[in-house]
Symmetry: D2
Subunit: 344 residues, 4 copies
């Protein structure tokens, strides 16, 4: 049995990872840390876990974690993982980092968007989007788990760029996220009376997932590209819907688009390709590691619109992390993740 620990277990992503790990046959739970709740059983912080995980939360103690873990999930705010990941790697642990610290290959880009000096710029992680980078993940020591918006966007767009079907400089992503994306930390934007029955855009042109999407799409396009990315807040808890607009290259047909998606994903369990005229809905993937994709070619405007739906806490965080763990540990990739959404 693989011993797994979570640094930062009491955020929503950490808690959802616990739900998934409980359903996994090849692991045991070891150390769970929390800055705010150390000393309490996690089931006191999250009463829904009572009877399932009653482990007492620890302060961050890197030696203890190294001593008791084979795999370590790091679920900390950006700028914090870089302080602990090097030691974990030195000790030979496998690491999956939920945060942004190791996602951007160019340290200058990280420092520009995050306004934060990087303290371990030489440590290079594999970007953990299995449907694109599976081969590199297999042997990885440290995996940078992609952001939620990023996962939804890249899966929708990369196949079309790779096949050269769309103008790489025309990409627009209009993304809609549930409120859990903002975490468990309190804020007026997540205050129920303000957030319910409300839809708004935020951070237009400046969201930190933008350079991450651009990095991976530039690889797919074979040239550096910039995109327009607009995040919106939805009155719901879980889910991201990304509506992606691209100009078609001349003469490109619906069939070619469909072929590109089939080529990319026909053997992928977690990506579900919906038929013509069918579009994803966030509720159909709620609680799961699925990414549902639908698309429409509009001859009036010569554009293709691709819609993608994920659960931001699962395929956008904890589920993808577990998928990455399965890959680097040699378990079946869908272990612990093979279930449908909680519906309705």
């Amino acid at each position: 049995m693989m011993r797994t620990s979570i640094i930062g277990a009491t955020g929503y992503a950490g808690a959802d990872l616990l739900r998934l790990l409980l359903n996994h046959n090849e692991i045991t739970l070891s150390v769970l840390t929390s800055e705010s709740y150390a000393g309490q059983p996690i089931s006191q912080v999250y009463p829904h876990l009572k009877g399932h995980v009653d482990i007492v939360l620890d302060n961050m103690n890197i030696d203890l974690i190294i001593d008791k873990s084979d795999v370590v999930f790091v679920a900390l705010p950006h700028g914090h993982a870089m302080k602990v990941v090097p030691a974990l790697l030195t000790a030979g642990k496998k690491v999956i980092d939920f945060g942004a610290d190791y996602r951007l290959r160019d340290t200058a880009v990280f420092e520009q968007w995050y306004k934060h000096t990087h303290v371990s710029p030489d440590l290079k992680a594999v970007y953990g989007l299995p449907e694109l980078n599976r081969e590199q993940i297999i042997g990885a020591k440290v995996v940078a788990n992609p952001g939620c918006y990023t996962t939804a966007s890249i899966l929708a767009i990369a196949p079309l760029l790779r096949e050269g079907l769309v103008d790489p400089h025309s990409v627009i992503v209009d993304a809609k996220s549930g409120i859990s994306g903002a975490g468990r930390g309190l804020g007026l934007g997540s205050h129920y009376p303000e957030a319910t029955e409300n839809v708004k855009a935020y951070n237009i042109g400046g969201h930190r997932h933008t350079p991450e999407i651009e990095q991976e799409l530039s690889v797919a396009a074979g040239e550096p590209i910039t995109i327009s990315f607009t995040p919106h807040l939805m009155p719901m808890t879980r889910g991201i819907l990304a509506t992606c607009y691209m100009n078609l290259k001349p003469e490109v047909t619906m069939d070619q688009i469909t072929t590109a998606f089939n080529k990319a994903y026909q053997h992928e369990f977690f990506v579900r390709l919906l038929g013509p005229g069918q579009y994803p809905a966030t509720k159909n993937v709620r609680g799961t590691n699925h990414c549902d994709l639908g698309w429409h070619v509009d001859p009036r405007t010569n554009r293709v619109i691709v819609v993608s739906a994920i659960d931001n806490l699962v395929k956008g965080a904890a589920g993808q992390a577990l998928q990455n763990m399965n890959i680097i540990c040699g378990f079946p990739e869908t272990m612990g993740l093979r279930f449908p959404a909680l519906y309705p």
Copy 2:
């Protein structure tokens, strides 16, 4: 492997049972019937099931079902199960009925509340509330799965009546249900713009779960009792919260109440007893087979208030049905049901 079929698979309870059965190691899915959608794959009716269950729905064909099933779940509106259950039993199948047809031991009471003549009054089912009736369920051929309000209410009240701690004629249940309790059938009360940001009572003094609660609580009390039962509709999808009021018998203390609950449920995996000053929340049991219980003794009014939370589609329907299946088939009782809530 036990072959399981569902008659009426496209209601919410049937669909949720599918989610649970997919997570069960000892069964295979066999026939799924639907009156409205026969001929379509269930994953077309419920796209969240795509890639998990793509079985094509059948019309009701009792011979086919008998031929292909060991266990049959019947999820039909009241008055319909009684037309198929006798044949299933004759053929030696194990039957778990989600509906009301076999819940009330007194046929006259059934006919009075449901305004429906019973066509198989001699067929007696076991009332499938395992925490109260486990012994009878073990050998049962047909289990009448309790109603959702009923489960939440009985689990909260029966221990106190059984121990004689409260006045059996003082029981008031104020129950709050999510909208999925009204099913997938369309109605103005479930229309989103009408139902959201809205709370209301309905069917005061006349809800059909009342005689069912009274039947089981009368057993616990050792005498016939009537109760006040008021259902309310909440702007949420899943969950029932039952707030139960009872007058204490003279000199009864908080300790005695706590002891009664411990005695009843300390070995029950699905019932979770919360500590003093802690009260259940429906979200903590969402998607699970748990029933969370909290209570308060109020010396000012000499009453005890017990609060109980379940997921109406799980412990109130599909989960309890699976728990009953596990019991009658000799599987571990928690098989397929041992996971925490989807939270948040």
Copy 3:
């Protein structure tokens, strides 16, 4: 034109009062204070007010307020009004206090439930529930505006106690409130991902509106009574539904109950009596000063169940305050309050 000021204008009750005052023909807005946002226009704190009220918020300056106001609304947390109300009265201002400081006639009861020493125990306010106390309010200098749960509960119960139709020692109130009742201050209980799709009870047997309900119902009953009061949190923003249970006195009929309500409220614009079998829904009163009432006599249990619905921020706070202002200023009582709910 009457000059009106609000001390504590940036809470939800204060902001909703602004909405109502904008619709009133006989007043002008004068000073608006805020501890947290002084110096900013209120339309920056509440962008929905842009173009309607752009007044810059002031710090609390009692001399300024006295100088510029005829009527002062005080919307402060308990314990704070008692520091400013005496000075306002000395200066001859009319005062309507939203908080609890002057609601309880017995200072000892206040100090017991609020754990707070009262600094102006001799100042006696009129309890501002116009449908019960209109005559006393007319000449009042200071009105203690009732709590939200209180208003919903008393209006539902008082007529039956006054007419001697129910056992005064059997009163149980099961109340359901929207989340705005907890205010704009941040807390985990109001955090969207925790609050949505969730129903729970809280503070059972200990909510501070309990003594206030008991005080007024004791007057109606003609003897001191205690009640069971259980508040619940609903996944919605606005609204309170109070479901009230009482044992009928012998031989009391549905007709007598109906007569009692007609007698009490037939000339009240804001109280709407629903017909037999009709029950209130919070959405029907949203944004308005209405209290909708429905009732059911249950011969099986010999109880009457009365259901009452209000908007907690309007009839439960700002609207009732304006109604009280209209009364003490001699304006038509419904001025500024004569509009139906925002529906759906």
Copy 4:
């Protein structure tokens, strides 16, 4: 007093118009028709109106309506207004039509998108978007009230096209609507358990508001244009947020964009221009006739993103209809519409 009637008063737009008309000083309510509920008081169909409008609903009787009305609002499904509007005009009534029948100036375009033969193609209405077409509306006999998506989109985009600041062939509108946009008619997409906690796109490339947006934007651009328009369904009742993407023409600056919006709307009461970095939220306009606008110029991609928020039932239907009535009747344009949102 102007006598006003509503044909089709029991849809959401009709009911919301009643709320607004009750707040208007210069009109009386006359005939209200309903196909489904004729013979019932409207307050039985919509209990929130009890005590405010208790008028009994009539069947459609054109002679009665002509006899009793000066202004007639027609709120019928498309294809139905064209059967009654000509008679109303012949009788000299002023007509405001909520539907699509008279919005498209080119009958062929109407018939292509609506698959419906037009029976009064020669009757030409004025397109009732006052902020663009006020002068033509003043003398109009019949006003075609714009669609909800249309209003939000055109107000956001037209000023930039008119000033030649953006590429007219680059317009993309990603629109998000509350569920009331689908009306009070029942459907699985509006069923609470399906709609809540769910976001999805629908009708991509094929929504009927597309030609209407294109018609008005082509006027603004001075040349025929096509746009990409993608509607999405949000888990909320009221509100539309339209996020509009356009490529900037060379050298265009943020200042020029801001100047264009100021030029277009600085004297418009209902259009509120938010400052830099501020974006609209649907909740800030809920229940009102406001359209809030915010924008961002992104130098990285050389695009401008404009975000617009309205209440689909008010500025997108009933409120704009009343604004049009005020204009054609010579009342102050904001009469009955001068109030802020219900917040929170």
